[in-house]
């Protein structure tokens, strides 16, 4: 059943309309961050460690939604900032982050892929190229002969992983540094894609 719920608007009385009070409040928050962080930076420069405060305290309240990203060692040491100094420090990736693809193997080392071309069809960037061959196992019938992904075109949407009926392709390598000096080198073939399986 549909009901109507009236949402109370916060009253805009004179104190709000004049802005100044709210501006001062906001400045209070940012100045607190500024001086707390400055103090921590100074302590860090002096070689000292701020007294056991977790970095979440620097955010001035509950670290909701951000705590899932553990600050790295140096950011923890600095304590005045949550910056991760990528690329000197490793990037912090979420558990479900989509990174470079890999192809899974069967126990005998052949690709699990059955060349159904579902991934090639669904791919919005059209960056997958598959050619098929007969599989010696009559229960499998088909398998990939070549399987290429052009990482230079891929948008890392993960549709290929969703589409695959036999779970032959995954995006969980944690590898997201894929630069190359030539476009040609951005194309990963089946051998390279199966390396981490």
């Amino acid at each position: 059943m549909i009901t109507v719920r009236t949402v109370e608007r916060p009253p805009r009385d004179l104190a709000v309309q004049v802005f100044l009070l709210e501006v001062v409040k906001g400045l209070g928050v940012t100045y607190r961050h500024f001086f707390v962080n400055l103090w921590r930076h100074l302590l860090g420069l002096a070689g000292g460690r701020p007294a056991g405060s977790p970095p979440a305290a620097a955010w001035g309240g509950s670290p909701r939604g951000r705590a899932s990203r553990p600050p790295s060692g140096r950011a923890l040491a600095a304590r005045g900032a949550v910056t991760v100094q990528y690329p000197e420090e490793p990037a912090v990736l979420g558990r479900r982050a989509r990174t470079r693809h890999r192809l899974l193997k069967r126990p005998d080392g052949a690709p699990r892929c059955t060349s159904c071309l579902l991934c090639e069809t669904v791919c919005p960037a059209r960056c997958i190229r598959i050619t098929a061959e007969d599989s010696p196992d009559p229960g499998i019938e088909k398998r990939a002969r070549t399987f290429e992904i052009d990482m230079g075109l891929c948008v890392f949407c993960g549709h290929c992983v969703e589409a695959c009926p036999v779970d032959a392709i995954r995006m969980d390598t944690g590898d997201m540094e894929l630069p190359a000096l030539h476009r040609r080198e951005m194309i990963w073939d089946m051998k390279a894609l199966m390396e981490d399986s």
């Binding site: 802005f19 100044l20 501006v23 906001g26 400045l27 928050v29 940012t30 100045y31 961050h33 500024f34 962080n37 400055l38 930076h41 620097a58 955010w59 600095a78 005045g80 900032a81 949550v82 910056t83 100094q85």
Partner: protein, 345 residues
């Protein structure tokens, strides 16, 4: 000798503005970083020394100077090139009118630390600030781009609204000091009330000071009043600019901020006056310039924090705030001041 001294002072005023602009680029990046729990600019280094990112004050201009200065085919070449110079030049000229210190005597010479003393110094500063907007409008017009034009027009109408407000908010102070001469205004403030309270403008004009900061911040076209630019909607009046010409527009905002801070320091914070410190001789000269710079830095610190704290206004809200908020409040302040002076006399 006196010509030479004036030239030295003018050069110093120019250096004051330019070094502030370079330094503020660093302050802006670092202050926003620290208050947002970030680290901020820390990559530029010389032989491995980073000096908390201070080398970015050198690296940024070098980068801007060496970038390609691309001039689109359809722009009006003359105006396109002249606009950044106008925008940057006039606020820099305004700096020449400020008393960076009073007068001091050394070796029989009595020297003033104000580059250009004038009976109407305040009007001169206001005029320079107002003329500076021509650069923005010209940039928008010459760009031959609707976005640039929109930015320029916004700049003009914002300028119109807040220049009036700025003048109104200062009217109380001017009435109090009875002069438009900036040096004279500081001299009025350079005394102590009851031996402990400096007679600075802010003591008599607290409302005027707050309103002045609002109008001043709006005048500098920086967030929350950065409507002439708007990366998310019209990009801004400098959409067709690149390289150092773009950099000059960025510097314009910063130097206008410096001018506004100088005005605040001069009219409301006692200018070069520093209580309980020697104000004559060479030491006195250093103290006066130091006090003035410190006050400018203090106001700048506040404006910078405001710039990184508040979200921006919508354009109609901006004009509403100016014409219906700051202007009447400024007039009220002026009226109260006049009334107070009448009763006190």
């Amino acid at each position: 000798m006196s010509i030479l001294w004036v030239l030295v002072k003018l050069g110093a005023a120019l250096g004051f503005g330019m070094s502030w602009a370079a330094f503020l680029g660093w302050v802006e990046r670092k202050q926003s970083a620290v208050m947002q729990d970030r680290i901020g600019a820390n990559r530029a280094d010389i032989l491995g020394f980073k000096l908390i990112g201070l080398f970015h004050t050198i690296a940024d201009p070098i980068k801007l100077l060496t970038k390609e200065d691309f001039v689109p085919a359809n722009v009006n070449k003359t105006f396109h090139a002249a606009a950044p110079a106008l925008a940057l030049g006039f606020p820099l000229l305004a700096l020449a009118a400020f008393p960076f210190g009073g007068t001091f005597t050394v070796g029989g010479w009595t020297l003033s630390l104000q580059p250009l003393g004038s009976k109407v110094g305040l009007l001169y500063v206001l005029a320079m600030l107002a003329v500076g907007i021509h650069g923005v409008v010209m940039a928008g017009y010459a760009s031959n781009s609707c976005y640039g034009l929109m930015g320029g027009l916004r700049g003009a109408s914002q300028m119109l609204a807040y220049e009036v407000c700025l003048a109104t908010t200062m009217a109380g102070a001017v009435f109090l000091y009875g002069t438009l001469d900036l040096a004279e205004a500081v001299r009025w403030q350079a005394r102590m009330l009851g031996g402990w309270l400096p007679a600075w403008g802010i003591v008599f004009q607290p409302l005027g000071f707050v309103l002045f900061l609002v109008a001043g911040a709006a005048l500098t076209k920086r967030t929350p009043f950065d409507l002439p630019e708007g990366e998310s909607e019209i990009v801004g009046f400098h959409v067709e600019y690149s390289g150092m010409k773009f950099g000059m527009f960025m510097m314009t905002d910063l130097i206008e901020s410096v001018v506004v801070c100088c005005l605040a320091a001069t009219l409301f914070l006692g200018g070069w006056h520093a209580p309980f410190l020697p104000l004559d001789g060479l030491v006195g000269a250093a103290v006066m310039v130091g006090a003035f710079t410190a006050k400018v830095a203090l106001v700048m610190f506040l404006l910078m924090q405001v710039r990184w704290t508040l979200p921006r206004f919508r354009f109609d809200q901006l004009l509403d705030l100016g014409w219906k908020g700051v202007l009447p409040a400024g007039l009220l302040n002026f009226f109260l001041t006049a009334w107070g002076i009448y009763l006190w006399r």
